[in-house]
């Protein structure tokens, strides 16, 4: 967004005339643009933390940073035109299509993995183990009594599995068919709804089995386990013969995919140093899980948690901006 620059210049002069002085951040590598690098913020804590870490590190290197709140998917429109510059978390599992579409235009560049690995799988609270003793092995779900334990009035006698929003993909409808599970897939519309149902069921110790992903605060807050499906392989998704059911695809677990960093293609030329730093950025699942819990469960602010991380990991992040 272009600001009314002339007005602000005039005001700067006025301010200087009044004797108010200020020191600009001057560590920036030479010849790189002084325009702000716009990093997008979404509505989940992990992403806020990742982005704030990156932003604060870039600030320490002297770059001008601006955080912009943007929708996870809608942001690609801005990344393509250069209105936005950097998005720190694009999940393989939920953002792949939009990311591929954007990178195909040549306007958006994939800057590699964040080091975090997205886990997405069927998950149940620990108290359900009493009602369905064979878990976490997936074959326990084939048992009719077990499926009925997970049922509701609308799905009985079949079990009710709460899947992610349709937009997340995940092939759960196909998985249920391929593995011949006596379950009905109900899709939540958004992940807030997903966790609202989990919270509700957990409060009542009521049966629930649903799609959970990590890194997230939920696996830290609630006691429970992932269902162990036959291991994922690319062949299992593509070739019916692979994995347990010889006639169907998707008869295995979900892939565990990386979380990517993407940027507007112009970043490379405009801020080469920042470009390198963003490429170098990595954190891992455990670190992130701990930070997310600190914010969402212990009530710290994102800034506190990030400041803490920066203080403890100075060697790491100073390596990114060298």
């Amino acid at each position: 967004m272009p600001r009314p620059r002339r007005i602000s210049t005039a005001l700067t002069l006025a301010a200087l005339a009044l004797g108010i002085t200020f020191a600009p951040g001057v560590l920036r590598a030479d010849a790189e643009s002084e325009d702000p690098i716009k990093l997008t913020l979404h509505d989940w804590t992990g992403q806020l933390i990742t982005t704030t870490i990156m932003g604060e590190v870039l600030k320490k290197a002297g770059y001008n940073i601006e955080y912009v709140q943007a929708d996870y998917i809608a942001q690609f429109a801005g990344l393509k035109t250069g209105d936005l510059h950097v998005a720190m978390e694009i999940w393989e599992t939920t953002g792949r299509d939009a990311m591929d579409e954007a990178t195909a235009t040549g306007q958006v560049e994939n800057l590699g993995e964040t080091g975090m690995l997205a886990i997405e799988e069927w998950w149940y609270p620990a108290y359900m183990k009493d009602k369905c003793p064979g878990l976490p092995n997936w074959e326990a779900l084939k048992d009719e009594a077990c499926a009925e334990a997970f049922s509701t009035a609308e799905t009985a006698p079949k079990g009710r599995y709460l899947g992610g929003p349709v937009t997340w993909g995940g092939y759960d409808d196909e998985r249920v068919t391929a593995l011949d599970l006596p379950f009905e897939v109900v899709h939540a519309g958004t992940d807030a709804a997903l966790f609202a149902e989990l919270e509700s069921a957990y409060q009542r110790e009521a049966p629930i089995i649903l799609w959970i992903y990590a890194p997230h605060w939920a696996p830290a807050k609630y006691q429970g386990e992932w269902v162990e499906f036959p291991p994922y392989s690319a062949e299992c998704y593509a070739d019916p013969a692979a994995s347990v059911n010889p006639d169907e695809t998707y008869d295995c677990a979900k892939p565990r995919g990386p979380i990517w960093k993407v940027a507007f293609a112009g970043v490379k030329d405009k801020w080469p140093g920042a470009y390198q730093a963003i490429k170098a950025f990595t954190v891992d699942n455990d670190e992130m899980g701990a930070m997310v819990s600190a914010v969402d469960l212990d009530g710290k602010t994102v800034d506190e948690v990030v400041a803490d991380w920066l203080a403890k990991n100075e060697e790491r992040w100073s390596g990114w901006i060298d």
Binding site: M1, L11, K59, A70, A77, G78, A153, E154, A196
Partner: protein, 676 residues
């Protein structure tokens, strides 16, 4: 209409139900019989009537996608491209926005991003509260001053100040633009019949095509950020203003118009000096709607870079912090109430202008303006020494903390089974069978029946319009999703009307009840549905039932509001005539007031349908499988064509309902002798 006409009307109600076999009834009976036969036995013979043949499917999706690409990348006016034009518009809107944001939130800045240096601080919170209170005092006396100060105070105390000022800045830009645009469009439609004809479908589209469907093109055209959010807000919030303007102008009594002509008004004078001022009560309903709808867009606006309270609500509910979400949501409501009451009071005040104040001296003439300046200056200087004057002190913030979460947990743990039982009863006996029925019907038969209804109510033109729109839905391959949409909206609108119209009547009959009812519906309309959607999910699980609750809660407002407005506007002379001819209170209501208020009530139902359709995008968030979900999926895949086609299908449903109801209403009016 005169008093004898009113008496005649009362007499009409006593007419016995005639059961003559008119030709129209015969045609309908034959059509229904044919429909049932087709539905029950037609499938083996005419499969195409049940499932639209995919070979004949219109590739509208690809056309729209291609057209949009052309618009964004190639459309050119010679000197500049279409994108450059929209970017220019964005820059023009951006200027006042930055100014408002600077004043309210960020302060005047030099430079950009984290390099920016604050030259002047924003208005202190004390100053803003003082300013709105002064405005309130000026427009409506100390009562209003107290009300708006309380609203803003509430925002400060609950720690929402920073976010609220960001939201307020974008509202301050969007509302005047929406009101002005709507007013001009409405006047144009009133004066020129062709404009009216062209505008009506356009307004329907603006109001019913879900915002998500055109979000991506708007972002590309106007750039990512608050300006795009302002544009989307205006598109969504302007239609009611335009509609109500036209309606209100048509409602100006002929005597006033004659007077205007007799004193020799020019066209412009007639419009601005006679018509618009006379139509003010109606116009203010429009202003109210623009404010309410703008604040309703706060959540979606925050998804495209507007930030502010909407972002706070989303973030809080993603971590299931119900209390924090509710506090941010109520801050939006507080803003809405303050802005609405202020604007209403100002409009009342403009009416009483006239005698110029000729008291000597600047101070005597403008004491409030001077007081405002003094306040701003004093708080700015004071703020340099006492931080608490500039920003609300951290340690004085209040929060409901975990209270709401705990309350919800208590209800959940203790009453879930009872709630579930009621829900299952409704779901398994009414909702699910109705849905199955609709999905089961042959599309060709439904299209034919709709066309017949159009013909009965409004002639062959309406039949053609309704029939071809319905056909288009089938031809773009969205029949099933459209039926789920009709089911969800139909059930919700029916419930909203069954609850809303009686409440509206009650509130109109009892003056004492009215302020409470109005406050409640203002709250319902501006409290982001996300705030109650998530608790609803906890109690009712994801699915149609939760979606229905959200739609009813949102769409009930116009049903109530227009009923009150319609009853309040009934000509008191007719009521007197009724009383004089010995009507009881109930007769007065049923035989005179309700009949005369019918056009307004129908408009209310129309708006209820439109709002219900506009909620589809939100209900997609709790897992419905309708057109709203289709739009949402298209958004996440950045598929402009798919999103717009589904969005258009939603709009078509809205237009079909609107036209049929409209034609039905005018027939009814004609029968009652209400036509002007």
């Amino acid at each position: 209409m005169s008093a004898p006409a009113a008496t005649a009307m009362i007499g009409q109600g006593a007419r016995p139900w005639t059961s003559a076999l008119t030709p129209m009834r015969l045609i309908w009976a034959a059509a229904l019989l044919a429909f049932v036969l087709l539905w029950q036995f037609g499938e083996p013979i005419a499969e195409w009537a049940f499932k639209y043949p995919s070979a004949l499917r219109l590739p509208l999706k690809t056309w729209i996608g291609g057209g949009m690409d052309w618009l964004v990348e190639e459309a050119h006016f010679g000197l500049f491209s279409f994108t450059e034009l929209t970017r220019f518009v964005a820059a023009v809107i951006d200027l006042p926005y930055r100014l408002a944001l600077g004043l309210l939130s960020s302060g005047l800045l030099s430079g950009q991003g984290s390099d920016a240096v604050q030259i002047l601080p924003p208005l202190a919170w004390v100053a803003v509260i003082g300013l709105v209170a002064l405005m309130g005092f000026h427009a409506g006396g100390w009562r209003l001053a107290l009300l708006v100060a309380t609203c803003f105070g509430f925002i400060a105390v609950f720690g929402q100040w920073h976010n609220a000022m960001i939201t307020l800045a974008s509202i301050l830009i969007a509302v005047p633009l929406g009101v002005a645009g709507g007013l001009l469009l409405g006047i144009a439609a009133f004066r020129w019949r062709t404009v009216d004809q062209a505008l009506t479908p356009l307004l329907d589209l603006m109001q019913t095509v879900p915002v998500f469907a055109y979000l991506v093109p708007i972002l590309v055209l106007f750039g990512f950020g608050p300006t795009a959010a302002v544009v989307a807000t205006i598109i969504y919030a302007m239609p009611p203003m335009a509609r109500i303007t036209t309606l209100a102008l048509r409602g100006v009594s002929t005597e006033i118009q004659d007077l205007g002509r007799m004193v020799g008004c020019s066209g412009a004078q007639m419009t601005w000096r006679v018509m618009v001022p006379s139509a003010r009560p109606g116009l203010m309903v429009g202003v109210n709607q623009v404010i309410m709808l703008s604040l309703n867009m706060v959540i979606i606006a925050s998804m495209i870079g507007a930030g502010g309270l909407g972002f706070e609500v989303l973030a809080a509910l993603r971590r299931l912090d119900i209390g924090a979400g509710l506090e941010a949501g109520l801050a939006i409501v507080a803003l809405a109430i303050a802005l609405d009451r202020l604007s209403q009071a100002f409009s009342q005040q403009v009416r009483n202008h006239g005698e110029n104040d000729r008291r000597p001296g600047l101070f005597r003439r403008h004491p409030l303006v001077l007081a405002a300046f003094a306040l701003v200056l004093a708080t700015a200087l004071g703020g340099l020494f006492v931080g608490g004057l500039q920003t609300y002190p951290e340690n004085l913030k209040v929060s409901t903390g975990t209270f709401w979460s705990e309350l919800l947990r208590w209800i959940n743990v203790n009453f879930f089974d009872q709630i579930e039982a009621v829900k299952n009863l409704l779901l398994l006996n009414i909702l699910v069978p109705f849905k199955r029925l609709l999905l089961d019907l042959p599309w060709a038969g439904v299209v034919a029946l709709l066309a017949l209804a159009g013909w009965t109510l409004g002639g062959w033109r309406l039949a053609l319009l309704v029939g071809s729109l319905a056909c288009l839905i089938a031809a773009t391959g969205q029949w099933d999703k459209a039926m789920v949409t009709v089911y969800l909206c139909g059930v919700s609108v029916a419930i909203a009307c069954m609850l809303g119209i009686p409440i509206g009547i009650l509130a109109a009959e009892r003056e004492g009840l009215r302020p409470t009812v109005l406050a409640v519906i203002d709250t319902l309309q501006t409290l982001p549905s996300f705030v109650y959607l998530m608790p609803a999910v906890m109690l009712f699980r994801v699915g149609d039932f939760t979606a229905m609750i959200a739609v009813v809660a949102y769409a009930i407002a116009p049903a109530i509001r227009y009923t009150i407005h319609g009853l309040a506007e009934v000509d008191p002379r007719l009521v007197e005539a009724g009383t004089a001819s010995g009507c009881t209170r109930l007769q007065l209501l049923a035989k005179i007031k309700l009949k005369l208020a019918l056009p307004e009530i129908m408009l209310g139902i129309n708006q209820t349908i439109m709002l219900a359709l506009s909620m589809l995008v939100i209900t997609a968030l709790v897992g419905t499988r309708d057109l709203g979900q289709e739009v949402y999926v298209a958004l996440t895949k950045a598929d402009v064509g798919r999103g717009l086609v589904a969005g258009l299908a939603v709009a078509f449903i809205g237009i079909i309902a609107d036209r049929l109801i409209g034609a039905g209403a005018s027939r009814m009016r004609a029968r009652l002798g209400l036509l002007r």
